[in-house]
Amino acid sequence: MEIEELKTIWQQYDSRLDHLEKLNKKLIMETLSKKPQKKLNAMKARSLFSLVLLPFILIFLMSLNFRLENLDFKFVVGSLLIALFIAVMCYLNFKGYMVLKGLDLSKDSIIESAKKVTEFRRLFVTKRKFNLLVFPLFFVGVVLIEWSNLHFHSSILLVMIVISLFSIGIGCLDLKLYKCKIERLEKDIRDLNESIE
């Protein structure tokens, strides 16, 4: 089939679309009032929440046990681990938020949009990877901070083992989804690079 034939088919398809029904104005009005950039706004809100509120919540929870008598080596190491976790999370969330904020569907060219979306997805994947790798350190940090309050009864140890196993299980499941996401992202990056070449 030659390209001219494709054009002819496309024109036939186009002329058949002339018979589309008139759009229902009432439905359009409902769409306008109900779905203003729903998905994008939800993502921006989530991103802003992780950027602003999450560190506050973590710092608040940490501060509950902040007493002078607790200040020992374990507490300091625990605090550093948690601070490291919060700092990297904040950095990644900030970058993600800035990418979403900079997305302007009416002004950006298709390539610009695709680059921003790819960058956002790349950050999302990095965050997942970071969570999988660093979350155990965060967990250790919490245990170290709370060390003075922990009484290692067998029941507490059991609960900690169950939580750890549960986290590992979720991590393994997440890894499968994560691999799919990476494959799709890599394909899109290849497409994008091909388009820019």
Binding site: M1, E2, I3, L6, K7, I9, W10, Q12, Y13, D14, R16, L17, D18, H19, L20, E21, K22, L23, K25, I28, M29, T31, L32, K35, P36, Q37, K38, K39, L40, M43, L103, L105, S106, D108, S109, I110, I111, E112, S113, A114, K116, V117, L177, C180, K181, R184, D188, R190, D191, L192, E194, S195, I196
Partner: protein, 165 residues
């Protein structure tokens, strides 16, 4: 401009360009529900951008840009995407028996286009819609020369796919 007038003008613009929005939605989705969702998202995004539309470019260029950007940056759960291809269901149910060949050819064309990357899909759609190279370059964000090169490469890819299938 008062709100009522803004709405009326907007609906008129959408009505005049609905074919274009349908085509973009169909190009980037592979089942009827997703097509509907994307169509609605495009209209929402157009409505949000409409008050700032300064008519510096053609209305169709602006609609193409918002529609394609929405389709490409459409954030959704990719794991829910189905691989089932239902191209014929996208075409409005207005065909009689004599249109069957057109349906088949449209299927073939869509299958061929579906093998392309997201940006190549946008370029070929604009090309098939007889958009000028300048306009394609403006919408996509490439130079005119790059657009010409891309189009010849895409034509080759499509030709190869169609001759093998």
């Amino acid at each position: 401009m008062d709100y009522q007038k803004l709405q009326t003008d907007f609906i008129e613009i959408i009505e005049d360009n609905k074919k274009l929005i349908y085509k973009v939605s169909h190009m980037y989705c592979d089942n009827a529900d997703d097509v509907k969702d994307l169509f609605q998202d495009i209209i929402s995004n157009l409505w949000i951008a409409y008050p700032n539309f300064q008519q510096k470019s053609k209305v169709s260029t602006w609609i193409y840009r918002v529609s394609l950007n929405t389709a490409i940056s459409w954030f959704r759960d990719y794991s829910k995407q189905s691989n089932k291809i239902e191209y014929t269901n996208w075409i409005p149910n207005i065909a009689d028996e004599t249109d069957r060949t057109v349906d088949e050819l449209c299927d073939q064309l869509y299958r061929a286009i579906d093998t392309l990357g997201k940006i190549d899909k946008a370029i070929i759609m604009l090309f098939l819609d007889d958009t000028s190279y300048e306009e394609i370059a403006e919408i996509i964000g490439l130079t005119k020369t790059n657009v010409a090169t891309k189009i010849s490469r895409i034509k080759l890819k499509l030709k190869e796919y169609l001759s093998n299938n």
